[in-house]
Amino acid sequence: MTIWTEILIFTLMLTNYRLLATSRLAAMIDTMVLQALTLSVIPLTLAARPWPLELLALTPLTLGVKGVLLPWLLRRGMREAGVQREVEPFLGFSASVLAGIVLLGLSFLITRPLQSAALQGAHFLLPGALFTTLVGLTIIVSRRKALTQVIGYLAMENGVYAFGAALAVQEPLLVEMGMLLDVLVAVFVMGITILHISREFDHIDTDRLSELKD
């Protein structure tokens, strides 16, 4: 079991570097699919067999929402807003990767005192979760395009989800489904807003949305 969990966690960490390093939105969305795949399988590798029924129901749901529906919405948003690349982010791509290395180190440092809290066999899951959350936040604050920020938000959400897996939080199925629905609707509403922004402004550069201030 453990070896599979660890392979998946390292995949999760590597997907974060891919998110930080690429400028192509299509590549970022593909990476999100991979991330969703690892995230939905990790709880299975951690749980004792026979797998509880709730988990068996939840895994395909998570995979369906995070791995299929959300990327589909993002690709549609890309097409409609006519955006292919993140151009000139506030933090360059190589600098982002370097920042990612620092963040990974920090994540290990911060979660070290908490290791006893994590599930047996998931020593790297807590730092992995924190790392994913921090990478999501980094993407949100360091990129210009609204669509890239949505991807950052999703990465952050994935990180928080991984925390839930690491701490073995068993929420009722209803709440878990509500959470997935919320993320789905969030990306849907953000996509519509981005569409209106691109129609109104002919761009989706959020740094140029700066008229309202005191």
Binding site: I140, Q149, V160, P172, V175, G178, A186, I194, T206, L212
Partner: protein
């Protein structure tokens, strides 16, 4: 029966999105608000004991906020019906810059308005922190389309900031949920409020504290606590006025309920001092920052938004202090919602009459449109905490609570900031109201009648009566309700 407070507006809202015909849709809005209010009144009068362990249930705090939301929604829906009659289905001129804009389809607006009520009701009746989180996140999503009703560059910018900042904040609150569940890993149903408070002594204090910090950051973002408040002035100033009234009067309360619930868990676990001090600090910080931005604030809708930040700070301060101040804070929530509703609905009228959000260009409102001007002036005195209005009583109660607790420094900071805010707001509001119209100023709006139609003015008049009544006399059932709600955060009986 409780679940119908969510289902009625939700179903009507979904229906409003698909039915053809303007009249039918507007009838659905009226039906939704009236049905919800009737149901809430019935539930409030015949309260069944809460079944232990159920997903939904209504304690005093939930009932208080549910009533506030319901009352405010009635006022807002009356205003909305008049507003849509004026704005819907045609291109309108932007009030500030004069370009033409096409509004959002009415079906989406009314549908989202009703769904907004449904999600806020769900926040109020949730007994499970997980369900509460789902509901709070849902309020963000269904209210975002309301902010960009006028689809232009400013409102879209505000909507984007609102969506992104609040979603990120709420994601952190989810982390708080996980920490909280982990703190109570020994017990069953780890996020249910009943089991959390019952087994509070067994909760792991370190993880509990971490959870509270995440809740404070997450729900605090939604509530508008400084420094996570940056979305709030933009969204409140760009949304149509009745939406701002709902955001400020009902939505911020819902986020506050999230913080209140987690504070109650920490209080039950004996960590009330830790969370209380944090709440006092962020409360005073919010009040102080709001005061700074209120000085020289020339946009009167932004002024109201910063005033909301100030009052959320007061709520946080009140429950942080506990005791009598917590009771005062609950009363304050009620008074603030009604007063802010009055002010935003009146601001919408002023915006319509003068065609500007700049306070400098609004003059002699008392002469130009006497009733609206009077309500605006009255709302200002009420929100600044002058007697004989309700907010005076609740602020005095909080101050007394601070002094009772021996927190002289906190009490004096509170008073000082309130004084600064009074002067700052007076310098914006009073010139708007008084004075005589200059001869040469002949704006095009002079063709408008001096008094707004009853559906614009009626809700504001009703709310002004309420806040005046609450200042002069607090009915015993209101006092019982607020003191019971305050018990959650260590109030006095």
């Amino acid at each position: 029966m409780l679940i119908w407070t969510v289902l009625i507006p939700a179903l009507l809202g979904l229906l409003a999105m698909v039915v053809p015909g303007r009249r039918l849709r507007r009838a659905l809005l009226g039906l939704g608000s009236a049905g919800h209010a009737g149901l809430v009144a019935r539930i409030a009068l015949h309260r069944a004991p809460m079944p232990a362990g159920a997903w939904i249930g209504l304690d005093a705090a939930g009932l208080l906020f549910l009533c506030i939301a319901s009352v405010l929604f009635i006022a807002v829906s009356i205003y909305t019906l008049g507003y849509l009659g004026r704005e819907s289905g045609r291109t309108v001129r932007d009030a500030e810059e004069g370009f033409l804009i096409a509004n959002e389809p009415e079906a989406i607006f009314i549908g989202c308005l009703l769904l907004f009520l449904a999600t806020m009701s769900l926040v109020c009746i949730s007994r499970d922190m997980g369900l509460l989180w789902v509901a709070v996140e849902a309020t963000t999503l269904v209210s975002a389309p309301l902010i960009s009703y006028h689809r232009h560059h400013r409102s879209l910018e505000a909507t984007w900031k609102y969506l992104l900042i609040c979603s990120v904040g709420i994601a952190l609150a989810l982390l708080g949920n996980f920490f909280l569940a982990f703190a109570g890993r020994a017990g069953h149903a780890p996020l249910h409020l009943d089991s959390l408070t019952a087994g509070a002594a067994a909760l792991d204090p370190v993880w509990l504290k971490a959870a509270f910090i995440m809740f404070l950051v997450g729900y605090g973002t939604k509530m508008g606590l400084v420094p996570m408040h940056t979305w709030l002035p933009d969204a409140h100033s760009e949304a149509p006025s009745m939406v701002s009234a709902l955001l400020s009067g009902a939505l911020l309360n819902c986020a506050f309920l999230g913080i209140l619930r987690s504070h109650a868990v920490l209080t039950a676990a004996g960590l009330g001092a830790f969370s209380g001090e944090l709440l006092i600090f962020f409360g005073l910080l919010s009040m102080g920052t709001a005061a700074v931005f209120l000085i020289r604030q020339r946009d009167y809708k932004r002024m109201l938004a910063y005033s909301s930040i100030e009052h959320m700070g007061i709520l946080s301060l009140g429950i942080g202090l506990g005791g009598l101040a917590a009771t005062g804070a609950m009363l304050h929530a009620l008074n603030h919602s009604l007063t802010k509703g009055l002010l935003f609905l009146t601001a919408g009228q002023i915006l319509y009459f003068y065609g500007t959000k700049s306070a400098d260009e609004v003059q002699c409102a008392l002469k130009r449109t006497p009733l609206t001007g009077f309500l605006w002036l009255m709302g200002f005195f009420a929100i600044a905490g002058c007697p004989p209005f309700g907010l005076f009583v609740s602020e005095l109660t909080i101050l007394k609570g601070a002094i009772d607790a021996g927190r002289w420094a906190v009490g004096s900071c509170f008073l000082l900031v309130l004084a600064v805010i009074f002067v700052a707001m007076a310098r914006t509001v009073l010139p708007m109201v008084f004075g005589y119209p200059a001869k040469e100023a002949v704006p095009s709006q002079d063709s408008l009648p001096a008094t707004a139609p009853p559906w614009f003015i009626g809700p504001a008049v009703a709310m002004s009566t309420c806040i005046l009544t609450l200042g002069l006399y607090i009915p015993s059932f209101v006092w019982r309700l607020v003191s019971k709600a305050a018990l959650l955060s260590g109030g006095v009986r």
